[in-house]
Amino acid sequence: MEGVQCDYLSELDVVWDRSETLTEKPFHYCPGCGHSVMNRLLMEVVQELGIQDKTIGVAPVGCAVFMYHYMDIDMQEAAHGRASAVATGIKRILPDRFVFSYQGDGDLAAIGTAETIHTVNRGENIIMLFINNGIYGMTGGQMAPTTLKGSITSTTSSGREYDRHGYPLDITPLISQLPGASYVTRQSVDTAKAVRKTKKALTKAFQFHMNGGEGVCFLEIVSNCPSGWKMTPIESNEWLQDHVFNHYPLGDIKPFPK
Amino acid sequence: MKHEIVIAGFGGQGVLSMGMTLAYAGMLENKEVSWMPSYGPEMRGGTANCTVIISDQPVSSPILNSFDIAVVLNQPSFDKFQPMVKPHGYLLYEQDQIFNADCRQDIHAIGISATKEAHALNNKRAMNMIMLGALLGTNAIVDIPSVINALKKVLPERHHHLLPLNKQALKKGQGIIHQVAEV
């Protein structure tokens, strides 16, 4: 029918839209992967806080290696394990910018452990995001430092054994003991409620630095890897809830300083 | 005119600072200079030496294997550097530290009781300046006032009250050589 006005209808229909801080490039992440949610949340927070022109991110080597394709902010791609050192260099040179690093478990807690601990220990005024899914996703599903006992990976074909492979490295509580850490929390993105909580934690972390807070804000996201775990997205989230969160319990480990 | 000098002894005897002061004084007289230390673990309580070159022409190699003048403050340095003094060159040694001063006949070997003289000045750390004074007594490479000006640069300000003592020590060393020459 000609002449029917339905603009109001299309406006009403928009219940969610891509943040302007995200580019139009579709994510390459596997269906159901927590990285997609975290990439989106990060850019939503940057948009809502109005700091797109002041935020500089550092991408890891790992599944999120291409995250700078999706984020409409200035970014640097770091060598494997060195994101927090690169972020340190950026923040020290441009102290009025907001700088975050984003790393997986192999990147942050294996090859980059020294940089992780010392960046936190110096109390750099940056946000460190740690996506812990217990596996090397990008290289084909090898054992990660955080892989739990019994987990089958491409380098632990009969499951992780403590006497042979060592224990899962629970690095976040370790980090929280360092005086340079101002805020340490462990969150997840497996449910809508968890996503909202994570977004709130991320917002508070940026606001902390915007208000002149000093020290590292360290956010671990206990996440999934449907492809690496050989599960459907729903199964992988259920696995998190049934088998992983008891090893890596969620919640604030070190609240913001009063 | 060019002087190629090595100064050697134990760490703590003021070997490196003696050389540095001499080089600085040369620079203040608009000469070309270089100061090359031995460095590393041997500096920590062991032997130390430095090569100082003072010249009217740009210095080519800062590293040498023959010297116009060697100032040696212990036996190992005496033994090591004696053969490296050029014929008719000078070997100045702290004679109380050297128990075997057997020496080549084609060089001027002069023993100086610098430690005793320093004690006489009530400051044993002045030993190196007595040796430097003696060195300048054999070869007027730089003037004493230049050395004093160099010390003003080399010494931290809190030690500037020691400048008169250092001047005294330099003159003392220079005087010893002049006496030797008169005899």
Partner: protein
Amino acid sequence: MPEKQLMKGNEALAEAAIRAGLKGYFGYPITPQSELLEYLSRHLIDRGGEFIQAESEVAAINMVYGAAGCGKRVMTSTSSPGYSLMQEAISYIACGELPCLLVNVVRGGPGLGTIQPSQGDYFQAVKGGGHGDYRLIVLAPNSVQEMADFVFKGFDLADQYRNPVLILADGALGQMMEPVTFPDYNPEDNLVDHSDWATQGKPASRGPNVITTLHLEADKMEAVNLKLQEKYRTIMANEVMIESIQTEDADLVLVAYGLTSRIAHKAVELARNDGLKVGLLRPKTLFPFPSQHLAVLADQVTSMMVVEMSAGQMVEDVRLAVNGKVPVYFQGRMGGVIPQPDELLKRIHQVYSSSSTQVNS
């Protein structure tokens, strides 16, 4: 006239870096370059820069990567084993075309080696060092004055070509003292605007600036390589620096860089006293290498002799440049031993008398 100061090479280099507008230094202690780090720890922060003693050379060079990616003048310094640790990130820095200054005050190797001076890192410095096809601009000072001068030159070249610049010194140059004067240099007059590529925060007026070295499609990665190679050719055509000493009438020309060029110079003086027509060609830039100068010289002399504190590394480049026109001899010491003027003189006499016969050595 600027005041002359008597300084150690390491300290002169550090002071020059501050005067060149250094905004960030990231380093880790290692002998024989620690004075550089110590000097900057004392003076840089008060004079407008950031200083971090990092947890390792790996962290330090990655801080340089991040900071250089912001388009400001930044640097690190280290010595041989530490420089080896930095290689991965230097490859990234070269590929990302991030201007910065690197300093390797070389010590004797391989392994933990010795803290005495060496030139055993030549291959690592000029042939890449890390993975992939890349080049650094490599400057080789031979005096305390040049330890300072090459810092200004190095930062200018780094900015001009968006390329890391390496100052390849050695332990003796770092530790020795000579008079130095600092040029009248205002960094503000020499700074290059890098805001078109550097990550400084994205204003609404432009797209994001991204620094990455990952290009999975082979044709894109080849394009990156071709662009780099084009830049290196421009550098080779325009930035060679040499010093020539008495080469005009020379039968035998010594080729040496850094500290050994000073010793070779002394040997030339001694040989001239003995009536031998000997000269010295000193590359001041090791990349770009003075291949053309050497090729021209090869038409004029009867032989050449390369002197290095290594098993013979630069000699390969000299032989490539000379391309068999004349014999190229080699005299080297390793492991921290410095060749002495008289041993060079002895060798010069040998070579000089046999230079009509083709002897390979």
